[in-house]
Symmetry: C2
Subunit: 214 residues, 2 copies
């Protein structure tokens, strides 16, 4: 199995966590989204028509979109289960996962920040304020969901789920961009707990083969 | 059952389609996101900590995030099934659904367009170009996915799925914003087919009780 990944991509990071939690071995295929390798015709035609990372390849089968990949992995390799079967718990896990993957991450990803720079010519201060605004709005919502429905030490109880696979890369990204996250103690507690877990540690950007320091 | 919804919200529209396809009766509770009702403390505390529409309420249970709601509905009311059980078909349905709901919709929704207006003070031309850019990037990817994996008359075969529930509102939104979509014939064929289906017709913004004409 191959994972086409970029070290700093939060969506790649999610799938690396899921693969590590399940102990599924894979070959890491770097795709440099900074230089536009995800738009190369060969990659788009053969591997991922979405022209994005990550993509999972298993023989003739290839699949894009991190949450679709994790859903697929969760059926193929059900231990540990990351998307619970129990209806209520499943709903809570998906709700928080989608808050992060739909309401937060897309607005602050590389292509959007580049558009702000290159097309709208915003100042560095405006770009930072943009990034911070969506982080704060999203983290405040995540914190409310955790306060109402969560239970420690992971987002929803004793075992990590898709929600943790989404929350940890989002918070790592925000910290890397210089955001303080002290206002979000429930999320911080999950983040600290995850940092000590070998699967979450192994998936972090600085340990990937294509890592380059800032 | 109640659906907290705004007529023009694409994510509300998705859940209305799913409810209509399944024939689940519900009370429509309007939440005016233009005037900020989704941020009212009572709504956030009691109904949706994410401070967004849609939200589904069933007795003591309430749930936000359109895709989490549709997943929950698909378990509770499995006929017709919108997220297939078959592993490969499921992967394709989720991949396209996430392309739309993660890569396209969030960047062009009301709160982001308002931020462009109010904080970044972009011109109307810059805002239109922004909207069009992300529509074109996403629709081109959707078209490639349909060309490679789709089959008519719906996105993935003979029955509508979550992918159709996501694609149709996204395209309706783009058309409302004045985008031409003729470059995307496979998506257009799905859109035309859906327009003739009673569930998709019933869910459209202009037929909702809170509809106001532009």
């Amino acid at each position: 199995m191959q994972l086409h990944s970029f070290f700093n991509s939060s969506t790649s990071y999610r799938t690396r966590i899921a693969l590590a939690l399940k102990g599924v071995p894979f070959d890491y295929v770097p795709v440099n989204i900074r230089t536009g390798e995800h738009r190369d015709a060969g990659y788009v035609d053969r591997t991922n028509p979405s022209a994005a990372v990550p993509a999972l390849v298993d023989g003739d089968f290839s699949l894009g979109q991190s949450l679709a990949i994790i859903d697929w992995l969760d059926v193929r390799f059900p231990s540990p289960k990351l998307i619970p079967d129990d209806l209520d718990r499943r709903a809570r896990v998906l709700e928080l996962s989608y808050l992060i993957s739909c309401d937060m991450h897309p607005i602050n990803n590389l292509r959007v920040l580049r558009y702000l720079d290159q097309e709208l010519r915003v100042t560095p201060e405006q770009k930072s304020a943009w990034y911070r605004h969506w982080i704060d709005e999203g983290m405040a919502a995540a914190e409310r969901l955790l306060a109402k429905y969560g239970s420690r030490p992971w987002c929803f109880g004793d075992t990590p789920t898709l929600a943790d696979c989404c929350l940890v890369p989002q918070m790592a990204n925000a910290l890397r961009m210089g955001c303080e996250l002290d206002e979000y103690p429930l999320s911080q507690a999950v983040f600290r707990h995850a940092s000590e877990h070998p699967a979450f540690a192994a998936a972090q950007p600085s340990l990937q083969p294509d890592f380059v320091s800032p």
